[in-house]
């Protein structure tokens, strides 16, 4: 099985440690991973802003870059959502269809492939999980609080395997943080207020670290945390899963 690692543009540029953690995590669990050098973006920023039509070529390039792999794995629920659900506007060649099926978010991939028993990570901190919306309600990684049924969360399930971790409970288990792509800029005032409220919930419940599957949500909250000098930091879930005392991450 050969995995193509997709690193979203802003993670590539601003959060290389998240990409490295994801890569190491996959390798540690025995997977063969490659990083196509000509990858850029999945096209989501344009599409969510209403310019899907300007994203078609970016989508084509994505397909070109990743067609040869058995799976495409990415540390981002929202990009994966975009590939799976919004790549319907380009021609549905067999490659495109395969990519839409085989593109998975890292946690989803780990859970589906049952390789997590050898994880051996430890992270002795109090952690708040931000269930980001695209993962939660888009890809159904967790039961959303609006639906009636048995609760579950695959991210939580994974994090619970980490030694020493203490997952805190939140008042509002799955409220949006207010990032929302260009929403963060177009509706700056509301976006920031949503972020502040989201962070406050984590602080009130004693979290030291906020984690999640989308670095974009975390980037937004980190921006507020740093501006307000709040006692909290953000880490992508890959970083936590890859964290252990013996093995410090390489970046």
């Amino acid at each position: 099985m050969h995995i193509g690692l997709f690193i979203p543009c802003y993670v590539d540029q601003f959060y290389p440690q998240v990409a490295v953690a994801t890569l190491e995590l996959l390798e540690k669990l025995g997977h063969r991973v490659s990083v196509p050098p000509d990858q850029t973006c999945c096209g989501q920023p344009m599409a969510n802003s209403g310019y899907e039509r300007f994203a078609k070529k970016t989508m084509d390039l994505f397909v070109q870059n990743f067609a040869e792999f058995d799976y495409v794995v990415a540390p981002s629920g929202s990009c994966v959502y975009h590939v799976r659900k919004h790549f319907d506007i380009i021609e549905q060649t067999p490659e495109v269809q395969k990519i839409r099926e085989k593109t998975l978010e890292i946690c989803e991939f780990l859970v589906n492939h049952n390789t997590t028993d050898t994880l051996q990570s430890s992270f002795p901190y109090r952690v708040g999980l931000h269930e980001s919306c695209h993962g939660q309600r888009g890809l159904r990684f967790a039961k959303s609080s609006e639906l009636v049924g048995e609760p579950f969360s695959i991210i939580r399930q994974l994090l619970e395997k980490v030694e020493g971790i203490e997952l805190v409970n939140l008042q509002r288990s799955d409220e949006c943080c207010g990032f929302g792509g260009t929403f963060a800029v177009a509706e700056e005032a509301v976006s920031v207020k949503m972020g502040k409220d989201r962070i406050q919930d984590h602080i009130l419940n004693g979290a030291q670290v906020i984690t999640g599957t989308d670095m974009s949500c975390l980037m937004h909250m980190e921006g507020i945390i740093r501006r307000r000098k709040l006692p909290l930091r953000v880490m992508h879930v890959s970083e936590i899963l890859n964290h252990s005392e013996q093995h410090e991450p390489s970046v």
Binding site: I7, D12, Q13, F14, Y15, P16, A19, V20, L23, V35, P37, D38, Q39, T40, P45, M46, N48, S49, G50, Y51, E52, R53, F54, A55, K57, T58, L61, C133, R137, S144, S145, E146, L147, V148, G149, R172, E175, C176, G178, G180, G181, T182, F183, A184, V185, E187, E188, A189, V190, V192, K193, M194, D197, H220, G223, I224, R226, R227, S250, V251
Partner: protein, 456 residues
């Protein structure tokens, strides 16, 4: 005027935002409790959605069946293609009956048709009889929520409003005192009214009757006292059979407020002796929306308001920021259908979190329709040429990997080197209240080239 600028005004008063957010969240939590008492809740939603889809697919048939049966019951049925026609029909009936004063209850549709100013211009006194509606009427405002029209008003503000208009004593926002005062005031209006106007929650084709759901009983009070009752309904309120009603009654109140049923669920089948009962079937853009396949499902809406209560944007920006009769997520789909240019900013007033779609009792895929509207709006209105340009540029850059890498490197370098005042300038909206991420020395791709390329 656009949603962001209106929202920004609302957000400025953080205490008020917190209070608004918490009040609505409280309703959402009550809804969760009520829904979770039903193990079959999700099946019920599915059923409701299917009934609506079916009813809309044969809407012409059911409307005519309704007309036939309602007429046989002694109800006078009228058809209005738009707001103007609706208002004229109402006024003509009033003229015939020499109506001078009316009481109204539970009708967002008459808001949509701007009936109040129209009637007032013609010398008819219109009293909104539901407490929340009466409050916004006295304040000369519009409802900010379809179920909780005065949710944006604090008790002290209502106190002051009542002192001014109803000559009450200052009561420090005492809810009991204020409610009693409103009741006293409204009772008089009920006694004097020549006609009662109500909305319609559901109309049943099979039996030719309609249903009005209320909590205060004002619709019934008005209707029982006045010799004339006019009900206005959007044509999408039609359901085929009597037995369908149970599905919607179970979903409506629970979704709206967490109640099991509304306090009053009144069914009107024929006029009381010696009175007249009219119903106006209003289109006002609905058949156009029905013809748009992408947005058709928005007509499933039963106006429970749950999508507003759950929407994290609505809770923090207030209903008035939407500047449309139906605010919030569902309004953001419906309003551009009526006037795309005017409401162009609404589909963007969402983080697309999808909470609205999951909470909706009739399973409208609200956030997906918002996404679709975005595509349509940028194509059909040329509102923001600068945005369009930058998106085009972005799309271009992402298809030139070499340039993308160079631009990334350049950007990070520039961020590292520029003094703070240059980065955090007024053009940098992100940075107004947030830090940008600290640019690392290497991008991941650069790291990978250096460390792994050979074994990749």
């Amino acid at each position: 005027m656009s949603h962001p600028s209106e929202a920004q005004k609302f957000v400025k008063n953080e205490n008020r935002v917190n209070w608004h957010d918490q009040s609505l969240w409280h309703v959402r939590e009550k809804r969760d409790k009520a829904a979770n008492l039903f193990p079959e809740w999700e099946e019920l939603r599915e059923k409701a959605s299917q009934i609506k889809s079916h009813a809309l697919s044969k809407l012409d048939y059911y409307l005519e069946e309704f007309e036939k049966n309602a007429t046989a019951n002694g109800i006078k049925v009228h058809w209005a293609s738009d707001a103007i026609e609706h208002n004229e029909i109402v006024f003509n009936i009033f003229r015939e009956h020499r109506v001078k004063r009316i009481v109204k209850s539970k009708s967002m549709l008459t808001e949509e048709c701007h009936l109040n100013p129209f009637l007032e211009k013609h010398g008819v006194e219109v009293i909104d009889s539901d407490l929340g509606e009466r409050i916004v009427q006295l304040a000369k405002e519009t409802p900010s929520h379809i179920v909780l029209p005065a949710i944006h008003k604090k008790r002290m503000e209502i106190d002051e409003l009542f002192q001014k208009h109803l000559h009450t004593q200052p009561s420090n926002g005492d809810a009991n005192y204020l409610t009693a005062a409103a009741r006293e005031h409204l009772r008089q209006k009920f006694m004097q009214a020549d006609a009662a106007l109500t909305g319609v929650n559901f109309a049943i084709a099979e039996t030719g009757e309609f249903v009005v759901c209320t909590n205060e009983g004002n619709a019934d009070m008005g209707v029982h006292l006045a010799p004339l009752h006019i009900a206005s309904m959007g044509i999408e309120k039609m359901i085929p059979r009597y037995e369908d009603l149970g599905v919607f009654i179970r979903l409506l109140a629970r979704s709206a407020t967490g109640q099991h049923v509304t306090t009053y669920t009144s069914q009107f089948r024929k006029p009381r002796e010696g009175t007249e009962l009219h119903i106006i079937l209003v289109d006002n853009g609905r058949t156009v929306q029905l013809g748009r396949e992408k947005y058709r499902r928005s007509l499933h809406c039963i106006r429970c308001g749950a999508c507003m209560n759950t929407c994290p944007v609505y809770r923090r920006s207030g209903g008035h920021s939407y500047q449309s009769v139906v605010p919030g997520p569902i309004g953001s789909i419906l309003s551009p259908g009526i006037d795309m240019k005017k409401h162009a900013s609404l589909p963007f007033a969402s983080s697309l979190c999808g909470s609205c779609s999951d909470v909706c009792p009739v399973k409208i895929d609200i956030h997906k329709q918002l996404y679709t509207w975005r595509q349509d709006i940028t194509r059909e209105t040329n509102e923001e040429p600068a945005k369009q340009f930058s998106m085009k540029l972005m799309g271009w850059l992402f298809t030139h990997p070499n340039l993308y890498r160079k631009a990334g490197k350049f950007g990070r370098k520039a961020l590292q080197m520029m003094p703070r005042w240059m980065v955090y300038n007024p053009l940098n909206t992100w940075g107004k209240q947030r830090e940008l991420p600290e640019p690392p020395k290497q991008s991941f791709q650069e790291w990978y080239q250096q460390n792994r390329q050979k074994n990749g």
